[in-house]
């Protein structure tokens, strides 16, 4: 009787400790994802802030390319309003496409290409896009860890118990030269 009771108490105590451990692990991972998303957001905002300046500078040289400017402005507005991670990804793809056509236009204006202000903005934009890519990579890595923990046994039981939801990956099209490669150790 005495031994059985002790065994039961021990098992219950072990289970409680286990649940607490897994729960805290899930909370930690979720916070890491949120923090990583905040990093992405900071960089996306930086890009939105740069675009009006860029459009103004290009306008000074290429007044007639109204269509392109409009496309960029619209895409930017849409990206700012995007709600979910998936929508954000789609809006960013559109914005990147619009910016690509803007830079294609710039090719026809050699004076503009030599403008110091334009070169600075171009570097800032390229740098910010690099940072978006890295922030996105960091976010997706964290999401993968978080989702994995919710899928594997036995932590999936606890995740279900406390209604954890899987996070969405932030997917945008990769530029041709930067397709992800498999890294083996």
């Amino acid at each position: 009787m005495g031994i059985a009771l002790i065994v039961v108490i021990a098992i219950v105590a072990f289970m409680i400790i286990f649940v607490i451990g897994v729960y805290n692990g899930l909370i930690t991972l979720r916070n890491r994802c949120d923090n990583a998303w905040a990093q992405v957001d900071v960089q996306l905002r930086r890009r939105y802030d740069l675009i009006p300046n860029l459009v103004e500078t290009v306008k000074g040289y290429a007044k007639h390319e109204r269509e392109v400017f409009q496309k960029v402005t619209e895409a930017r507005a849409k990206a700012i309003d995007a709600g979910t991670v998936k929508e954000q990804g789609e809006a960013e793809n559109m914005l990147s496409g619009a910016l690509k056509s803007l830079f294609a236009v710039v090719e026809n204006y050699p004076d503009l290409k030599a403008n110091q202000n334009f070169l600075m903005l171009q570097e800032e934009l390229a740098g910010t896009e690099g940072k978006i890519a890295y922030a996105r990579q960091f976010y997706n890595d964290n999401v993968m860890k978080f989702n994995l923990k919710q899928q594997v046994f036995p932590s999936n039981i606890i995740a279900n118990m406390f209604n954890f939801n899987e996070k969405e990956y932030f997917e945008i099209e990769e530029p041709e030269a930067r397709r992800p490669v498999e890294v083996k150790f």
Binding site: A36, Q39, Q43, M120, E123, E124, A126, G127, T128, G130, K131, A133, Y134, A135, Q137, F138, A177, R178, P180, V181, E182, V183, K184, F185
Partner: protein, 297 residues
């Protein structure tokens, strides 16, 4: 990764302990030779403790000073800053400070005692000769060193072991070539000169051991690991591979580098001409092997 960090912290501890003993021994020897008696011992303790703390907290500053690296602002080098900030985000680390060495030989290193207090140093030549993907590869390699705490071991190794090695180098050289024009005017010259000779000879005996220690602390495996982790950060191994090829093809030695700091750099900055002496200090694996490892990824 976490094992790597723990092992690096352990190594740093032993390095500090070793250094403490060495400085203590030297100071004690000095006290013995100058008849200072118990004061010599107290002096030894004070010097040993002060130098140990000093090297933990300011070894990065010493390394930066030796390498003649200057801090730079974002507005002057937006390109460098953007790349560094991007990779700090990728690694999930605080942004390191950026320093530049005014030299056309392309090279780079990282220093500091932890990720919060870290610096990345590049030469002007590196910025001029590499394209963006290559520069990202190099910075990612340095970022991996920071994340692994390699910087702590490497920087401590420079200051602690380097001080001793350079001292012995210097004393030996002045002993060998300065013999003919020794100053005869100073009164205490004989006594101090004798001490320097004794200390110098002891250090000279220890030098090969010290060189071995540098190599132990900075194993070649570490460079491969930083290459792999760096490639994992950029997800683009060809960038670093092509940068390494360019750095290897460049035959210009970096003037601000010396034997004590050579192991910090991403490729050997001494450029060993027909190398016999520097081969002893060969802290870098052959570039071809590193490139091959990257190309296999």
């Amino acid at each position: 990764m976490y094992e790597q960090i723990a092992s690096n912290k352990r190594k740093s501890f032993f390095l500090i302990l070793f250094f403490l003993c060495l400085i203590f021994g030297l100071a004690w020897l000095f006290g013995q030779l100058t008849d200072w008696g118990p004061y010599g011992l107290i002096l030894a303790v004070v010097i040993a403790v002060a130098m140990t703390f000093g090297s933990y907290y300011s070894s990065d500053k010493i390394v930066l000073a030796i390498s003649r690296a200057k801090p730079v602002e974002k507005k002057d080098y937006p390109y460098l800053y953007n790349v560094v900030e991007g990779l700090a985000i990728a690694a999930g680390l605080p942004k390191p400070r950026c320093y530049i060495i005014d030299d056309t030989a392309p090279n780079a290193f990282a220093s500091g005692r932890n990720p919060k207090n870290s610096v990345i140093v590049v030469t002007k030549g590196l910025l001029e000769k590499l394209n963006r993907a290559e520069l990202e590869g190099v910075i990612a390699h340095e970022m991996a060193h920071i994340k692994n705490y390699d910087i702590l071991v490497q920087t401590l190794a420079v200051v602690m072991v380097g001080v001793v090695a350079l001292l012995s180098d210097w004393i030996l050289r002045s002993f060998l070539w300065g013999g003919g024009r020794r100053r005869s005017g100073s009164k205490s010259g004989g006594n101090v000169g004798a001490i320097i000779v004794v200390v110098g000879l002891i250090l000279a005996v220890f030098s090969p051991l010290i060189a071995q220690l540098i190599r132990l602390a900075v194993s070649r495996k570490r460079e491969f690991l930083a290459d792999a982790n760096g490639a994992f950060l950029t997800r683009y191994p060809p960038g670093l591979a092509s940068a390494l090829k360019k750095l290897a093809a460049d035959k210009e030695p970096l003037e601000a580098a010396n034997k004590a700091t050579a192991h910090l750099y991403i490729v050997n900055p001494l450029k060993d001409i027909k190398g016999t002496v520097n081969k002893l200090f060969s802290t870098h694996p052959p570039i071809e092997e590193r490139v091959a490892a990257l190309e296999k990824m």
